[in-house]
Amino acid sequence: MALDNQKNREFKIVGTRPDRPDGLDKVTGRAKFGADAYATGMLHAAILRSPHAHAKIIRISTEKAEKLPGVKAIVTREDFSKKVTGENWNVLENVMAGDTALYDGHAIAAVAATSSLIARDALKLMEVEYEILPHVTDVDKAMGKSAPVIRAGASDKSVPEGLHPNVVRYHESGHGDLSAGFEAADLVIEDTFKTEATHQGYIEPHACLAQLGGDGKGELWCCTQGHFHVQKTCAALLDIETSALRVTASEIGGGFGGKTAIFIEPVALALSRKTNRPVKLVMNRSEVFRATGPTSSTSMDIKIGMKKDGTITAGSGVFRLQGGAFPGAPMEFTAMCAFAPYNLENVKQIGYDVLSNRPKQAAYRAPGSPMAAFAVESIIDELCNRLELDPIEVRLKNASREGTKASFGPKWDRIGLVECLEAAKQHPHYSAPLKKGQGRGVSSGFWFNHGGETAVTLALSEDGTAALSVGTPDIGGSRASMCQMAAEELGISYDKVRTTIADTATLGYNEVSHGSRVTYASGLATIKAARDAVKKLCARAAKKWNIDEEAVIWEDGFAKPSGPNAGDFEPIPLAKLTKSMGRTGGPIVGHFEATPEGAGVSFATHIVDAEVDQETGRAHVVRYTVVQDAGKAIHPSYVEGQYQGGAAQGIGWALNEEYIYGEDGRLQNTGFLDYRIPVASDLPMIDTVIIEVANPGHPYGVRGVGETSICPPLAAIANAVSNAAGVRLKELPMSPVRILEAIKNKT
């Protein structure tokens, strides 16, 4: 996509901080989220879940439950399509177990009843006979010789021979000569790191309201990051036609990747089809933890060599990720992101995707990248400490730049890593003195960003306002930035544009709101759709003036003759053109449908100060600064919001949050009572610096910002805590127990 006018353009609306268009809805409780919809005659559903980590399902008895007054239908795997294959088969197997329960919380059956209380009572009356099988939940153990085979034959062709059948995918990339590289180093450090699985922790549990008739036509309301994806997948799982199911995305109460996956919608649709009534299905918090998509847990070996002057001579990494009982742990992302901030002559990364008896992992903000940064940046920090080098200088010396070769192959386009590192170095935080007991850590992080299928429509109304329809659910204020971009192009004021998340019947296919793609791709599409509308506006003016369309230009909301040769006509404002559009050719609508591929990658550098209590092992973050390249910040407040949000989640992940499985393979901390996400006092005020190195692939230079912000925190906090504690922490989360243990073992 050509860079049309990002240089030297003076923006009027882009770059300002207007109130979001849905601000009032949010503060008054008017915004309708997943569980806020009701329908006449609606039934309530509940899901029966496996209490076992791994068990064969011998028999499901539903007779007693069916007799309970108020129970209208029960569904099992039998009620879904038998024809699905590939990833859709994995989704179905996760949505409703086939012959085996693969993890604690795996759905076995579901019931619809006249009240949620009756539905839950009915679950108690269902009897399931299980044959309990051996289980494994740890990634290293799952690769070990004695591990039970979770699914025979699940490995794809990439996996080398001789590995345990639980290894289902393999990745290898890199270049150069590793042994020569390590040979050339003055110091080589090699170590192993582990991170536990975490959950996105969105506050809104999954919820939907479904209606599906015997004719295969249906309506679905749900909280999702991508309703077109829900539509396509549900249609396949229920064996109905895609276009026959209209899906509307509700307001979404947080997703962070976790609502790109599908868990309950097909179940509600199946129950609705069976009862011919609308069915509402809402997860409770414990179901969210047990049976949605947390991150992978990881085990990683890293080896890096460095010269005394800070030059990195070689780096290698082995990344083992378990992603639950299904293929798909993002180990290739982990591998590819690991050394991305460094320009290395000799580098190699290997990834393993490993099955275990845990729920199917889902994306969580830059899936796989934060863990890689934790492992690699910890070793870099240790090398800097031992060689007495400044950690930012070392990162600058080895930084990836435009034209250098990435560790995973391609040459970098224009990127902003050096600018981030320079800004971090100049930031007062980096030179501020530390108090006794405190330590400082820095880290860089990388994320690819994504474009993806996108369709946008911009319809002009007779009064000169614009109705913009986008297909990417607004997960962090994107409606504001869409309004800004449309208004900027049309030359009308921000509040004259209304952005709606259109349903699946209104627009062409839109990929999920993921990959930090919304402001980039829907933004690009909005700009192009607005320009399409402008072209049509100019044509109407040309018609009126009886001149060539090319002789009309658009400036600040007015059609004007392009120059003296075009003729001397009074400029016509947008509202005047739209007022007469019925008579001049009909409705004026701008469109854009494409798959933009120029999503610029993004880098960030974080600085963290932490202190550690030597007697109890408690760590606390006292100061935090985020420096990140946004390309171009459309609405700086929401860019800062993404920076702060990523850092806040990173603090939780680094210090506190983890999935704790018992010996029995059951998840022990299934609520916010014991899965502690940060509260206000856990977080410092997080300072932010926006760097703008324009992305050549977007008209205004936008790069996605949502995910890169969670890439550096684990590493930056681990470095700060390790420096404060005087001992290297190699396992996340750095809970008081782990820190105190490390301090104890040091002496």
């Binding site: 109130d19 979001r20 601000g23 009032l24 949010k26 503060v27 008054t28 409780g29 915004a31 989220f33 569980a35 839950r120 969105y202 506050i203 809104e204 549990p205 307001e251 109460g253 947080g254 997703g255 962070f256 409770n284 918090r285 007991g437 962090g476 209590d613 030597q614 007697e615 109890t616 092992g617 408690r618 760590a619 606390h620 407040s637 919001g641 702060q644 949000g645 806040a648 210090l655 506190n656 022990q668 609520g671 916010f672 009572l673 014991d674 502690r676 996400i677 940060p678 509260v679 206000a680 006092s681 977080l683 005020m685 997080i686 809970s735 008081p736 127990v737 105190l740 243990e741 104890k744």
Partner: protein, 469 residues
């Protein structure tokens, strides 16, 4: 007939309560379709369901932020409730809402209604300690900075919402309603009423604030039959000074107690500040926290170290026991059928009392260990030692061996080091998801050392255990 009356968003509501354990949240969302109040966890952690409840107590208005998910309808009798929908008809009516918009304090916006209610309640109570106010409102998107910015900005021009006065007047009106005999049995107003209920229902469950029993219903899906709400008994909600002790009614909320003892018992008060969140402290009662016998309840080890006693009532007959004698073993307390805790007595000053709550998160978390120390020293000799721990045994428990070792010894590094060895004779803690056995053992010793350092040296805040609020 079990009938209750309360004010909802300015309108009087009279209800026949079919199930005593219908939560306010379910009723608001399912019956009234007031969906601005959100369900995020259904166990009082996330605060997405925060509502404002106003109560008239002896003519004084009390505004509380409460979690609607673990608040049963009968607990609202005679009170006024405001949900997010009832706060303002347009945003300019409410500064906090305006500031939340212009400071971009919402990303997804799901937690926003609960946060608006919490901040408004704080404003009515002239409270500006935002970390504390928001400890019970989880936001996963923002990192809280823009929310706190909005709260501070709203301080300047905050005005009292117009409905506050109107709600008060309506409250006065319904408070003069005559209670039927039936409803008195269901919602006792006096200790005598409660004695009668307990005599009739010796196996019954008493509910103070429902912060624990609420979870029996919403999480364990228990069907509770014999249940009696006691939070409204004013005789049991008072704090009285008598001789050398404070007499605390069992239905005193944690928040009321915390506020009352800020000067007399600063350490205990600070421990109570870290008890749950504002919403939880506003509901939970001190009697309930003791009576449930949890090994990780925070008030019990503190009260043991302070030397508190509890007064139990069985059909009008009283007996008083040291609080540590109340805890027999896990799930079993020194309490007869039909007997209830009426009040707690503790010394008027806390002296050398210190307590350390060790949890993964600083605010709103369950203790892995709660260590409480109260040692009296005279001329460098220890003349009295009371040490109690939560999280180290199946009940809140005294460290008798450590205490015995300390008694009569000199107050010195050496004594403390030796005393630490005695912990092994007192405790054999379990490993669970909150901490390992080794960690608990090590930290118990380290806390005694910390206590020694804090008591003997001028350097008070030795560490990050205390976050400055």
């Amino acid at each position: 007939m079990q009938k209750i009356t309360f004010i909802l968003n300015g309108e009087e509501v009279s209800l026949e309560v079919l199930s005593s354990t219908t939560t306010l949240l379910d009723w608001l969302r399912e019956e009234k379709k007031l969906t601005g109040t959100k369900e995020g966890c259904n166990e009082g952690d996330c605060g997405a369901c925060t509502v404002l409840v106003t109560d008239l107590k002896k003519g004084r208005t009390e505004h509380k932020a409460l979690n609607a998910c673990i608040l049963f309808l009968p607990q609202l009798d005679g009170k006024a409730v405001r949900t997010i929908e009832g706060l303002a008809s347009k945003t300019s009516d409410l500064r906090i809402q305006e500031e939340m918009i212009s400071n971009h304090s919402s990303q997804c916006g799901f937690c926003t209604p609960g946060i608006v209610v919490s901040l408004l309640t704080a404003q009515l109570n002239k409270d500006k300690n935002y970390d504390d106010i928001l400890a019970g409102n989880l936001c996963r998107c923002t990192g809280y900075t823009p929310i706190i910015d909005a709260a501070i900005a709203a301080e300047k021009t905050a005005k009292m919402p117009v409905w506050v006065k109107a709600d008060n007047n309506k409250l006065k009106k319904i408070s003069t309603n005559k209670k039927s005999k039936q409803s008195k049995l269901f919602l006792p107003q006096t200790i005598k009423d409660l004695e009668k209920w307990c005599t009739k229902n010796p196996e019954g469950i008493l509910v103070g604030g429902a912060t624990d029993v609420g979870l029996w219903v919403t999480k364990k899906l228990m069907d509770l039959k014999q249940i009696c709400f006691i939070g409204q008994i004013s005789e049991m909600s008072q704090i009285k000074t008598a001789n050398q002790s404070l007499n605390i009614g069992a239905c005193t909320t944690i928040e009321t107690l915390r506020n009352n003892i800020k000067t007399s018992h600063p350490e205990f008060s600070e421990l109570l500040r870290r008890y749950g969140s504002t919403q939880v402290r506003n509901a939970a009662t001190i009697g309930g926290n003791i009576a449930n016998g949890s090994p990780i309840g925070d008030s019990s080890p503190a009260l043991i170290a302070l030397g508190a006693t509890i007064s139990l009532n069985l059909k009008g007959k009283h007996r008083t026991i040291p609080i540590e004698e109340f805890f027999i073993k896990y799930g079993i307390q020194n309490k007869q059928k039909g007997e209830f805790i009426e009040s707690i007595n503790m010394p008027r000053k806390e002296g050398n009392f210190r307590c350390y709550k060790i949890s993964k998160r600083f605010d709103q978390d369950i203790s892995a260990i709660c260590g409480c120390f109260n040692i009296t020293i005279k001329k460098d000799t220890i003349i009295n030692a009371r040490i109690a721990f939560g999280g180290m045994a199946e009940i809140p428990k005294r460290a008798i061996a450590v205490e015995n070792f300390l008694m009569g010894s000199s107050w010195s590094d050496e004594t403390i080091s030796k005393a630490c060895l005695e912990f092994e004779n007192d405790f054999n803690p379990i490993s669970d998801m909150r901490a390992s056995s080794q960690y608990r053992n090590l930290v118990a010793k380290n806390l005694l050392k910390k206590y020694f350092i804090e008591l003997s040296k001028t350097e008070k805040n030795t560490n990050v255990l205390r976050v400055k609020i």
